[in-house]
């Protein structure tokens, strides 16, 4: 009987019911859409912040820092094997380690920086997309300004310190010292400069994610480094590091704010609609009381309807949120689109949560419905 009454009442007041279902639908769809695309979003954020560049530079401890900042690299070198020591050290919270060797040269009447790059090393052992320019043996990658000044073309053969190379790629203008840099593979640069087995910098990316709020990440890193490379020092580009951290926290805070905000707004929305429904049905409640129905039955009418609202809202919200993520997520997260997949278990959890949420939102108006004096309504006609 109670289900029959609920069904019939819904059929009469379709708009109120539709708006209530829409409130739950909206909350669930937003949550599902955020949650389903969360992994893609997280990875995309990592990728975007990674593209901001390395934030750690590990250089020989005896580096003349005046010259370092003037030249952009250390004037002294350290053994290349230093970078290998990171492989066996488990406590590092940074990634994308790259050994580099830099040297200023005068080439074709132009001051350039020749940079040798080794392959990246991941202390974690995981495969990651490289941050460095991948240079094939026998090739170079030319900075924008070098190419412009010397009229270099991709595919052109050049001679550098009596060795022939092919220009594999010309970089876009970066607005940094990279514009006058010529990248080659580290072993070839070491051979050209007669500095076999030597490097003057290890570059790395630190996520700061293992750093507590009250810890200075740089001090922590220096402590870590001291254990592995006592003859090296670490410099952190705080602009990039902080930007990465802020981006990560911003994203977390955004989700932490938007989901509860939507949930509370939708709860108020449902509560208002149930309240309006209670007000519209004052006479009906009075008559039901006069016919002998008790408060539990009246509560059942409203809470049963709220459960139905939750069930339908959750089902359609799940569908909409999932379809939105699967269809439009790849447009937003182009690189990490493969991470966006339907999460079927969320249908169960979102249904349970939405039914509970809908019932909780309807509790106060239902309480008003069962405590209203039926005589007040019936007497006042």
């Amino acid at each position: 009987m109670i289900l029959h009454l609920i069904k019939k009442e819904i059929a009469l007041r379709k708009i109120n019911f539709t708006f209530s279902v829409f409130a739950v639908f909206l909350a669930v769809a937003l949550f599902i859409a955020f949650y389903t695309s969360n992994e893609a979003s997280r990875r995309e954020t990592i990728r975007l912040t990674r593209d901001m560049g390395f934030n750690l530079r590990i250089i020989p401890a005896n580096t003349d820092m005046d010259a370092f900042w003037q030249n952009g690299f250390s004037d002294t070198t350290m053994p290349e094997e230093n970078v290998q020591r990171f492989r066996t050290y488990k406590d590092f919270s940074f990634a994308h380690l790259t050994a580099t060797l830099h040297k200023k040269l005068r080439w074709r009447e132009m001051d350039i920086v020749l940079t040798g790059i080794a392959d990246e090393i991941e202390p974690s052992g995981r495969q990651k997309t490289p941050m460095i320019h991948l240079v094939e043996p026998g090739t170079v990658i030319a900075g924008f300004e070098i190419a412009r000044h010397l009229n270099l073309q991709e595919g052109e053969n050049i001679n550098l310190l009596n060795k022939d190379f092919r220009v594999a790629k010309i970089l876009a203008e970066s607005g940094s010292i990279d514009d006058i840099r010529l990248f080659a593979r580290l072993p070839e640069v070491q051979e050209l400069l007669n500095m076999s087995g030597r490097i003057n910098e290890i570059r790395a990316l630190n996520c700061l994610c293992l750093t507590a709020d009250d810890q200075d990440p740089l001090l922590l890193l220096r402590d870590q480094l001291k254990a592995v490379l006592p003859k090296a020092k670490v410099i952190m580009d705080k602009t990039i590091a902080v930007a990465r951290e802020k981006q990560r926290l911003m994203l977390e805070n955004y989700f932490a704010f938007i989901i509860p905000f939507v949930v509370v707004a939708c709860a108020l929305w449902i509560a208002s609609l149930v309240f309006i429904n209670v007000r519209d049905r004052r006479h009906e409640i009075g008559v039901l009381r006069a016919l002998g129905y008790n408060g539990g039955y009246i509560a059942g009418l409203f809470l049963g309807k709220a459960m139905l609202v939750g069930l339908l809202g959750a089902f359609f919200g799940y569908l909409a949120g999932t379809l939105f993520s699967v269809w439009y997520g790849p447009e937003i997260f182009k690189v990490t689109a493969s991470e966006i997949k339907p999460i079927y278990i969320l249908l169960i959890w979102s249904t349970l949560a939405a039914v509970g949420f809908s019932v909780v939102a309807a509790l106060l108006p239902t309480f008003i419905a069962i405590t209203q004096d039926p005589a007040e309504v019936l007497r006042g006609e």
Binding site: M1, H4, L5, K8, E9, A11, L12, R13, H283, E284, G286, V287, L288, R289, A290, L291, G292, Y293, N294, G295, Y297, D373, P374, A375, L378, R379, E381
Partner: protein, 219 residues
Amino acid sequence: MVTLERLDKFYLTRQPVVKALHNISLKVSEGEFLVVRGPSGSGKSTLLLAIGGMLRPSAGKVLVGGQDIYAMPARERARFRAKNIGFIFQMFHLLPYLNIMENILLAAGASTVNFGKQKAADLIKQFGLSGRAMHKPSELSVGERQRTAIGRALVNNPKIILADEPTGNLDPDNASEVLDYLKNFQRINGTVILVSHGHMADEYADRVLQLRDGHIVDS
């Protein structure tokens, strides 16, 4: 059947206390047709709701079938009301989303003694609503709506009918018809207490009481 003992009902408002009923003592016998007449605001509806267990009096007792209904817990009082008392209202108060059959069966649903669809169908036939059983209240005339409301009040075979201005919205023909149905209920030993501000029901009554400002002033 119904006994009121020194019944008072006060309403606490921001204004001075409103005395809706004052020191009402009354006995209504089983099978009696009582009309309580009085102007608007005289306390008629309050009296009816108090007798029906819907409005707890400020003082005094309401005995129905010898039982003090306000001494019962609310849940038991609701069951007692569903089984023994039928209400009829001036505004009918049919549920707009239920058809006629369902509106009548609604009262049966609250009672532990469920006479079911057959009884409802009999009442529909008796009240000339056979062709309207599946219609919604909005599709009926006012007379048909009130006959449906009477059917709802009778479906549980109550001992008492409490009727609050049941003819107030009806034309004379429909009003007579409604009063005839109530008279028929009385003939099978049912008790009717009807409140009205007019005189139309007087000729059907065994007794007429006059209520003014919460007092019985004439009988």
